[in-house]
Symmetry: C2
Subunit: 143 residues, 2 copies
């Protein structure tokens, strides 16, 4: 039975249960940052997903990119580039990061993973970010 790794519960907030993935927003105001975790027990690598799931994951990655852009707009920091990463070197449960980047963000042009400490959102910004991302994901889900 699928159970989300507790590390995601600690570092992120639930946005939506998509067709395949749990979509979450990282509580890190440095970047509009979503994590997608396919509800497939034991999956570690992309190759562990069945073919149909792989296609659905790609669709949800694109939707998460749109949600990251929506967070950037909501916080008046539009996204300039999307970064997508599937690493899992420390947290093995299959998950995909979708991160909105800007040239003035603290890690540009390097990757965000393993860099510095998360800067939790102010409550009002977290609410705006969750709302913007959640609405965009809901639109994608209806299509």
């Amino acid at each position: 039975m699928f159970r989300l790794d507790p590390v995601f519960e600690r570092l992120s907030r639930p946005l939506a249960s998509l067709a395949l993935c749990e979509a979450r927003l990282m509580d890190d105001a440095r970047f509009p940052w979503l994590v997608l975790a396919p509800r497939r027990d034991g999956a570690v690598e992309l190759e562990d997903l069945a073919g149909a799931d792989r296609g659905q994951l790609m669709a949800e990655i694109v939707a998460a990119g749109r949600a990251a852009r929506a967070v950037g707009e909501a916080l008046a920091r539009p996204v300039a580039k999307l970064n997508v990463g599937q690493l899992g070197n420390l947290t093995r449960q299959l998950h995909v990061h979708v991160v909105g980047r800007r040239e003035d963000d603290p890690c540009w042009p390097g990757p965000v993973w393993g860099q510095g400490a998360a800067a939790p959102y102010r409550p009002i910004d977290l609410e705006r970010a969750m709302d913007a991302a959640g609405r965009r994901l809901a639109e994608a889900d209806r299509r």
Copy 2:
């Protein structure tokens, strides 16, 4: 008309022209590291690909992961974990990195991007790596 960004010509060697992507091996003996560049002029983000291309890219990412594992086996350094990244913060042409990781590699557990300098292969190892990756990609392409 599609033309591969010259940065890939400089840092990597051609492995195969897959259905969608040019597949290349990074000339960096630190990691079995493939790069996939979809032959789609002007594409920067995953969302720039048509739906069918997105599914094909996912299939080629999985094939590239198998090729990275084959390189690891050929060089007696089996891959423990695959890392997949689509960043493009510096080189905008859409491309996906597929990297075989080990706990004893110089960047573990962090990401490889932007870390240190490439360590070019010895000629004999480059030949072995190209051969192993190329054969594995050819198998995937026939399926």
